[in-house]
């Protein structure tokens, strides 16, 4: 299946870069399932919630997608990011782990579905400035489009896009800094 995943994901990513929004959503959904399978097999102690690492990886993939070159295979890129974020998650909790590079891709690429629980990302979201937080919540949790969000808050679509972009970038950045238990640890930007 790995060969098919690679061909399909790199096709979707290319289409996404060319401006195909549907392709990008498909890419992210399929990538999430693969990364979830990879992460769950790596976490056996139960101290780290796999889904937190999946979300952190997706955010990193999104804000770092300019690091993917079209002549590179996309799966090694995805798994390298997932592995980095997994190690990071363990490190933040004071644990050290070693992950073999060779083990990725082929062995751990079974797609899996999400389980629901309290998320690190919610705490990161809570730490955003109110305007960014409400826009990110509207588009994500409440499922509104950019246009609907703009109408709801009475601001322009451009302003919605800017707030969304900045909010996501800030959430991605704060994941990497330290384990955040309290929203107070965040500095407003």
């Amino acid at each position: 299946m790995t060969g098919n995943d690679e061909a399909e994901l790199s096709r979707l990513m290319r289409a996404a870069i060319a401006g195909d929004e549907k392709a990008y959503a498909d890419f992210l959904r399929r990538t999430a399932a693969l990364v979830r399978g990879f992460i769950r097999r790596k976490i056996v102690q139960g101290e780290v919630d796999p889904e937190d690492v999946v979300q952190e990886t997706l955010l990193a993939i999104h804000v770092k997608r300019h690091t993917w070159r079209q002549d590179l295979a996309v799966l090694p890129w995805v798994y390298a990011i997932a592995r980095f974020k997994l190690i990071d998650a363990f490190r933040r909790r004071g644990r050290r782990i070693e992950i073999e590079i060779d083990e990725i891709a082929e062995t751990f690429a079974e797609p899996e579905a999400e389980t629901v629980s309290e998320r690190d990302i919610n705490r990161a979201l809570d730490g955003l400035p109110p305007s960014q937080r409400s826009v990110v919540s509207s588009v994500s949790v409440e499922g509104r489009s950019i246009g609907e969000t703009a109408a709801k808050f009475g601001i322009s679509e451009t302003a919605v896009r800017v707030s969304l972009h900045r909010g996501l970038a800030t959430i991605a950045k704060r994941f990497g800094v330290k384990q955040f238990g309290r929203a107070k640890q965040f500095k407003r930007e």
């Binding site: 929004e21 770092k64 690091t67 295979a73 390298a80």
Partner: protein, 212 residues
Amino acid sequence: MRTDDLIRALDADAHSRAMPLGSAWWVAAGAATGIAAVVFWLAIGPRTDIATAMHTMRFLAKFVFTTALAISAFALIRALSTPGASTSRAAAWMTAAPLLVVFAVVLELLSVPAADWGRRLVGSNMVVCLTFIPLIGVGPLAVFLAVLRYGAPTRPVLAGTVAGLLAGGLAATFYAAHCFDDSPLFVATWYTIAIAILAALGAIGGRLFVRW
């Protein structure tokens, strides 16, 4: 927030565009070279007899060493800042500059009487060398660390070290035009120490600043 919710938000942000990392590295290379050139001209400038020196092998060899280091470090840092990219070939090329220096040192030892080795190794400029290579290189190093932050190096300390070697290779290329000590014995000793200072700074910078 469920992962599907997050995906919806990321998808809505799909239109935001950033400069491809490969292009960012070239912009950085241009900016870093510019910074190094300005600091070089303001601080020391080329040696007065550079027109004559250009005709000597030892003088020219210095540029071969330093540009070999800069080019190989540039290739390696590009790979190190891209997740999943293969680094083995670029890493192998990093041996080029040290091997060239070793080769030149052997030639020097064969062609110069042993009584002269000490004088050539110590030279007349080592304090200047140890001061100005790091001084010329520190601005470029900051630029390279910024690009590493923009990229996604999965080994930040290693990538920071290579950023230091790249800044060192660039700075040493400029400094070599100033320095009167052309013996490979001098270069192998003092240039190496000066570049190692930048590499150490790069490693620290990678540890502290290259987060993503």
